[in-house]
Symmetry: C2
Subunit: 259 residues, 2 copies
Amino acid sequence: MHYIVPGAVNTQPRFSQGRPLLNPLAAKLQTYDVLSDEEIQILEGAVDRTQHFDAGQDLVRVHDQPTYSTALLEGWAARYKVLRNGRRQITGIHVPGDFIDLHSFLLHTMDHGIIALSPCWVVQVPHENLRKITETEPHLTRLLWMSTLVDGAAHREWLVAMGQTSASAHTAHLICELYIRLEAVGAASGYRFKFPMTQAQLGDALGLSAVHVNRSVQELRAMELITWQSGEVVIKDWERLVRVGHFDPTYIHHQREPR
Amino acid sequence: MHYIVPGAVNTQPRFSQGRPLLNPLAAKLQTYDVLSDEEIQILEGAVDRTQHFDAGQDLVRVHDQPTYSTALLEGWAARYKVLRNGRRQITGIHVPGDFIDLHSFLLHTMDHGIIALSPCWVVQVPHENLRKITETEPHLTRLLWMSTLVDGAAHREWLVAMGQTSASAHTAHLICELYIRLEAVGAASGYRFKFPMTQAQLGDALGLSAVHVNRSVQELRAMELITWQSGEVVIKDWERLVRVGHFDPTYIHHQREPR
DNA sequence: CGACATATTGATCGACTTCAAGTGTAGTGG
DNA sequence: CCACTACACTTGAAGTCGATCAATATGTCG
């Protein structure tokens, strides 16, 4: 079982009894609860081949019935749905460590597609192996389940931001969310992070036109909350950005508790 | 273009080896996969006390850390979040058979509240018992997990409707979703169902003002797609309502398959 | 350098909000 | 049975936010 360690993705040590985790997947689950060495091994043993995708490629297509689930080791990806009229909504953004289509293990048929927003390295985990984990590893199962629950929590938060807040607040909210999540897996620090999305893609995520995304971003810049140039976002005033975006990180559930 | 006709969605009998299910909870899980009699007993054995709530009461409050999860036996409930500015977004609507805060089993802290939209009967399932199920009943565990995945799928669908479609399309979409879900648990048939929400509440779900909900509903009435009076909705033209609402029931995943 | 994607700016339009008033309709008490 | 109250629904008018269309920068990569 061959397994690639991506470059700077996991700079912060995530330890399990003193052992550094090479696997961003385990690192992500460790933000919810401690994993035993044995569990980490089982998780790593469940992993199949590593694969690369270019930006813009579909990792999974709508209506696919994959026989494996995919986890992101490096790069960014987005869940999306396209309507008959061609309009696209991005319903979630994924960063290293995220299990991007764990859903397909039980739902079988993809009700949305997943696209690479940047070049991506992923690992495939056969559904077969996931099933075995559910048969013999209840604790690991609960943590995998939990990771999908957190995805759901993020969806609810997006609904609130989309339904009840202004374009610039919504934009601020997304920036807060992404920073917190990236920081948790060691992919961001010092209030700055690489942001590989275009304003048009951001518009698809926020439910806004690209033109209006641009104006919202400028508003955040004018308020001196952020800068964003050459694919890097810098948060200049976290407190105020949080306030503007009505951001409350509770829903990300980064707390290590017995689960 | 062909549309799925609701009657065809779940034609299989919802029984397990000839035994009628008294428990809408089991009925709901049976829309995903067959349960053995033993599993049904375990599920029913996991249930603790039954409770009643009046319309408008909170079933669960935000930041609660319940020690049990709650399933709806009768009545309607809604997940919601309130912002500091007082605006409220309903992020999901629940009908009999739905497990409304299974999330709290693993997430521990509620990141949203749940309110009764009509008088409700619920059962409480202690987390203790859910944990036991995850330790000894992998198949049942997978189905419970799946029910939360379907909730997540609905959230994504709402995001699309909210971000990319007009107010009246969004309204049409919600009516389609509710009808399909109610029909699956036997709470609706013949394209009509009791609808206990006010237009203001509907507005909180759709991210619209009550005034505009009213206008959207009138539009659907003018198009002769629906009627809605005295708390009952009648769908007069399912096919066109589906088309107007960009509704594709794939995301509800009402298909009995080995999971 | 040219070619092409991405970002920015301006002008106009439409969808939805807000505020305000008026119309059912069901429930309560006399 | 009617008067009164409380909500929910409906309608109108004015205002705002964000979409769309169109044009012009500004990269960025061969």
